[in-house]
Symmetry: C2
Subunit: 546 residues, 2 copies
């Protein structure tokens, strides 16, 4: 028997587009002689549809799409994720469902039993857990179908079993021969490998092969990496879908495959490709063709420009340098050189006259006050205004260049450098920005070497350096990782050997700058805890940082 694993990139709520992707996959599966085609979780609507699920009409439209998909299932079995109504009288109105379709008819339905409610997931907001998983027999083989989270409670991979039940174990009791998992599982560093380990653990315990079919594509902050897999009857990884691209895999169960060894690329490569896909899909799915980036000559904006070029091609990217009285000639040169290296469009718009006109307008009001961060912020917001004006005029999307370290401690200006439609590297700590830049330059100098060696500076006042106000980035990033990603307490972080006053200072800033992050653009998520949708903190609060 041949089985097709269809790793598609749906657009949220674009039911017609998703329908076309699905029937194209089914057609190809038929052409390749497959008996079964498998599509990802919620393939009809794309994942995550969020509160669109609260519209009754949305679910109804997806059910109509399911009927139209059925019309294309002559001679083939199709497993596809969709939204169904909960037929029981109580509970949430929907089920995250999977249908087995054949010859125009839905033969069998099943649903998702474990609903994640951590980080970016809100599934109990919409869905009732399904009572049971879908089981079916095809050519003498019994398949058990789980949906995403259903396999993540297996043997307690995180230390604490999150749920009372284990859908995999229950399927084993139903004597299945092959486990299927359809997913919309977002990327984070090392996630593909983690999924493979889970599937292999299932194999080790139950000696059954596993088929894993994942969604691919960027949807707002989330990047779905694909990396669909087949673990065969020997527990080997024998098929692996492309990372960060659509793919179509066929597993011929009667054929012998060589195990795939060393399937995972270097971390920097994987992160970079994740950011490229996330950027590309956000731009395109929002209906834009071009982007612009403010180029300061620093590492962050250089990195974003490289990613933009990789995502869209050089002619779709405009770099804008906006020097002021505090911009060093070196920074102007670095910005220009980067743009030349990338072959992107480049313009320079000095901001000094505009800056002077603000200082003039505010002279009376500011009389008697010292110069402070206000004047720095004015400059950053002038740049924000110019970039947004070009974005408005040319219909191109502004990319935001702030990194995770800055965003953590508020070393950025709201409505200034935080302006833009997508924060490309807001989940990349500063030290990782350097790692990625080095990786980009591994064969030839793309980001000018000077950008990598000069001390980072916002250049908003004379002789300013980041390290005047911030702890060294390697320490800062350690504290952010401990506090934000690992939820460690102040005392625990101090026990890591970092000076208490630095830990305290960073944690106070973290708390104080919640308001900036609340108004930040969506940012591409590549760690297990990014600022944004998956991290929800109150702004108005008191007490010590915790």
């Amino acid at each position: 028997m041949k089985i097709a694993i269809c790793q598609i990139n749906p657009i949220i709520a674009h039911l017609e587009y998703n329908y076309s992707l699905i029937i194209k996959s089914i057609k190809r599966a038929k052409e390749e002689g497959c008996s079964l085609a498998i599509l990802p979780e919620l393939a009809t609507v794309g994942y995550p549809p969020k509160d669109l699920l609260e519209k009754h009409s949305f679910t109804e439209k997806n059910l109509k799409i399911l009927k139209r998909i059925a019309e294309h299932t002559g001679g083939i079995h199709v497993l596809v994720g969709y939204v169904d109504f909960n037929r029981k009288p109580t509970g949430k109105r929907l089920i995250n469902s999977v249908a087995l379709i054949k010859d125009g008819r839905v033969i069998e339905k099943g649903g998702k039993r474990l609903l994640p409610t951590y980080d970016v997931f809100d599934e109990t907001r919409y869905f009732e857990p399904a009572d049971k998983s879908l089981v079916f027999e095809l050519e003498g083989i019994r398949f058990g179908v789980t949906i995403c989270e259903d396999i993540w409670n297996f043997i307690d991979h995180e230390g604490i079993p999150k749920y009372d039940i284990d859908p995999v174990e229950e399927l084993i009791k139903e004597r299945i021969d092959v486990l299927v998992n359809i997913s919309a599982s977002p990327y984070s560093i090392g996630k593909g490998q983690l999924r493979m380990e889970i599937l292999r653990n299932i194999f080790r315990r139950y000696r059954i092969p596993c088929i894993y079919c994942n969604q691919v594509g960027g949807n707002d902050d989330l990047i779905f990496d694909g990396s669909s897999m087949v673990i065969d009857r020997k527990g080997d990884l024998i098929l692996l879908g492309k990372e960060f691209e659509e793919d179509f895999l066929v597993w011929d169960m009667n054929k012998a495959y060589a195990p795939i060894t060393n399937p995972w690329p270097q971390e920097e490569e994987s992160i970079l490709r994740a950011l490229v896909l996330g950027t590309k899909d956000y731009v395109i799915k929002c209906g834009f063709k071009d982007v612009l980036v403010g180029l300061s000559g620093g590492i962050d904006s250089s990195l974003v420009a490289v990613i933009a070029k990789m995502a869209l091609g050089p002619d779709k990217v405009l770099g804008v340098s906006m020097p002021s009285r505090y911009t060093s000639p070196m920074s102007r040169k670095d910005a220009k050189e980067l743009a030349e290296n990338l072959g992107i469009k480049f313009i320079e718009i000095p901001i000094d006259e505009i800056f002077s006109s603000y200082l003039n307008a505010l002279r009376d009001v500011f009389k008697g006050y010292e110069e402070d961060e206000t004047e720095e912020n004015i400059q950053a917001r002038i740049r924000g205004n110019i970039l947004m004006a070009i974005s408005n005029k040319m219909g191109s999307l502004l990319l935001t260049t702030g990194n995770k370290s800055e965003l953590a401690v508020g070393y950025c200006t709201l409505y200034g450098d935080l302006s833009g439609g997508l924060a490309v590297i807001s989940d990349i700590p500063k030290t990782m920005c350097y790692r990625l830049a080095r990786y980009i330059n591994r064969e030839k100098e793309i980001i000018p070497e000077n950008v990598l060696i000069k001390p980072p500076s916002a250049e908003l006042k004379p002789d300013q350096k980041d390290q005047d106000t911030l702890p060294p980035y390697d320490i800062l990033d350690k504290i952010i990782e401990a506090s934000v990603v690992k939820n460690m307490a102040y005392e625990e972080i101090v026990n890591m050997g970092i000076a208490p006053e630095i830990v305290k200072d960073v944690m106070v800033r973290l708390v104080r700058n919640e308001y900036k992050r609340r108004q930040a653009p969506p940012g591409l998520k590549i760690t297990t805890k990014a600022f944004g949708y998956g991290r929800r903190y109150p702004i108005a609060r008191g007490g010590d940082p915790i």
Copy 2:
């Protein structure tokens, strides 16, 4: 027996402050000879603590506070909401709990059984449902203690029972004499009355009195109105805590009370007081003393200035008028007159020179392009920059003035008029802005009459009127109510009798402007569906609006 109902206003995460509120309440309850003092849901930490609950150390600190509270319970029973660890091996790590404390010892614990996951609530993100409610006997009377949502499944008040179990019914089986509910239930229009109806329905069915103890205060976007209540043995409302203020009620069960008739104020009064509390608490809990508001001479900014003055007093409010070449003399006059009527500080900063400096800087880049919305947005962002500069320099909080109708269709400039720390009227549709303004002016003219009668205009280009680009506000607001609040489909809204092309246009704009709302400041919520935390939509999406 006398029972104290302590309607306190905790600060999120400020454990010491909340502790002080709690022991002050207990002290007073003792002084007034009460046998029992009741405090709201999660009184130790304030509601909603959000992802602070993911920090193990946060729960531990709240347990220490609980111990210290216990030290003050000599001679009195205290019921207090707190966070506890889930002692079972699986499931979420926490329980939303209530403790009965007496003489320094926690006598009994119970927890919340029904966990809301709709709108602004994410309780399954943190909490495992408790197995049972707390039941205890005191002076021969059996009390059953529910927490907030636990009473909201009662007899299906919304058409569909959300949950399989009804904690009230289960308590009745345990032969309780009095039902207690401790809550952190946020305000929306008519909510107090709705809660009273629920309690009265419980009385009608089971003939038991109900004590309802609610949190009060503003926490970011949420406004908790208090309005604690006692429904007595006859089903009458006999005690009602103040709306939008801390309060301390004592119910003497041996005393006769006259029923409270017509307890609920006029809708405009209630909304206005909600916004005043929400503004005041956000400013104070964020550590600010003063605020500033950009005054355009229009209805929205006028309304926000009135609310700011009511919240903080006139000397804490600065009105800033920023006229341009398109500002009418009438608008300048209206802004000034409003400030005078309110007695707030007032300054005028013309923006024309700054605007010219931008046009100058962008001349080359914009060559060959027509004038369009870009030039309008530049002006709005200049004003945003000036207001933020004053905010930065003077350490006062900028209040955002946009209304719900604008935010719905994106008739506002991101980083321009959307700038600020708190969006005071972002849940007030334009037609309601007028209603509130009329109510404010009911006895004397506070908002200049001219503001209420002139046609609304953004004044960003010559002779501009809102109605050039938007449908009449009464129609727009009907569509927003139908689509956003009631989740109605396009077809259903057209069936209300609104022209299809208008419905379509508004719904397309709703979808297209999701990105602006994502970056908007938190906005005070007064309807059942506000833009913000309780409404979660994807930005990048396709297909027709649904």
